[in-house]
């Protein structure tokens, strides 16, 4: 399974970069930070996925079996991937990952997960925008994802951010975005 055959012509830009602190709709202070590669960060992420409601899994991820969850974290926390966590105090409550098809010059696949207790509070939007800003800084231009077509809330959120549907022929809707080059704008 590879990404889209084409990407939108229009480029999307102006996304914020991590680290950022935002207040969610429930008044909670949420910090958005890049995964720092430490075991502590990895364990905090693992704890979020261990608490994750299986009903909110998407297309088989995150895996529930502990050994499979470990394998999956190895894959997405690899050096060629980009990961941003949303923290509420000492807990990871949301996570966006960008995983390349093959090597850092290829398009990146995006996925987002937000813990049930923190859904519907705007954290997902802030997290995706911030991760796209981070990705653009790192020189990524093509990002794609698939989403179950009945997940209207997610599809609406991706559209609002600037994703366009690139394939509506399958069970899963395929969407993509082309990022502006933000590598020079380190403000």
């Amino acid at each position: 399974m590879t990404g889209p055959e084409r990407y939108p012509d229009d480029r999307a830009g102006g996304f914020p970069s991590p680290p950022r602190t935002v207040e969610d709709a429930e008044g909670r202070t949420i910090e958005l930070r890049v995964y720092d590669g430490t075991d502590a960060d990895r364990e905090a992420l693992r704890a979020m996925y261990e608490a994750f409601d299986p009903a909110d899994r998407a297309q088989g991820i995150p895996p529930s079996r502990p050994s499979k969850l470990g394998d999956w974290l190895d894959r997405i926390l690899d050096d060629d991937c980009y990961n941003v966590f949303a923290w509420d105090g000492d807990d990871v409550v949301g996570h966006v990952t960008l995983v390349p098809e093959n090597g850092t010059d290829s398009p990146y696949e995006l996925a987002i997960f937000v813990l049930q207790s923190h859904q519907g509070a705007g954290i997902g939007t802030a997290l995706i925008e911030t991760t796209l800003g981070y990705g653009a800084e790192q020189g990524i231009s093509e990002v794609w994802l698939t989403v179950e077509r009945w997940n209207r809330a997610a599809v609406g959120l991706y559209e609002k951010i600037g994703f366009e549907t690139t394939d509506a022929e399958s069970f899963e809707l395929e969407m993509a975005i082309r990022l502006d080059d933000q590598t020079e704008s380190t403000g």
């Binding site: 894959r75 995983v99 098809e101 996925a111 399958s170």
Partner: protein, 122 residues
């Protein structure tokens, strides 16, 4: 049980071939392998037929290998109905770079249209 295995040459279809052949050897199903068109397959039809023959020989199974022309999903459903198969078996989808499962268009069509049971092999 009369089983129709449809394979187009993608990685998941090759996995389905291995699993279904192993299962057939175990339970003695009556297996037919239909090699269908898949423009996105990384393997040629000849390669797939050879691979299928080798798998069947290794398992000591006598099964028909059939080359099927035309739209794969509708051909499989049609063959299963006309020849009274009990089950259609297919590859259960590819995984994306980060491990998301994506069900292919052939499987989707067969799931929605077959009157037999459908097995997606993961």
């Amino acid at each position: 049980m009369k089983v129709l295995l449809g394979i187009g040459g993608s990685d998941d279809s090759v996995r389905a071939l291995e699993r279904v052949v192993a299962r057939t050897a175990e339970v003695g199903d009556d297996l037919t392998v239909a090699i269908v068109e898949n423009p996105r397959s990384p393997r040629s039809r000849e390669e797939i037929a050879e691979r299928t023959r080798a798998e069947l020989d290794d398992a000591g199974i006598d099964a028909e290998i059939r080359q099927v022309e035309g739209d794969p999903g509708s051909e499989l459903v049609d063959i299963a109905e006309r020849e009274e198969f009990d089950e259609i078996a297919l590859g259960g989808g590819q995984t994306s770079p980060m491990g998301k499962i994506n069900v292919g268009s052939i499987a989707e069509f067969v799931l929605l249209n077959a009157h037999t049971s459908v097995k997606l092999v993961r």
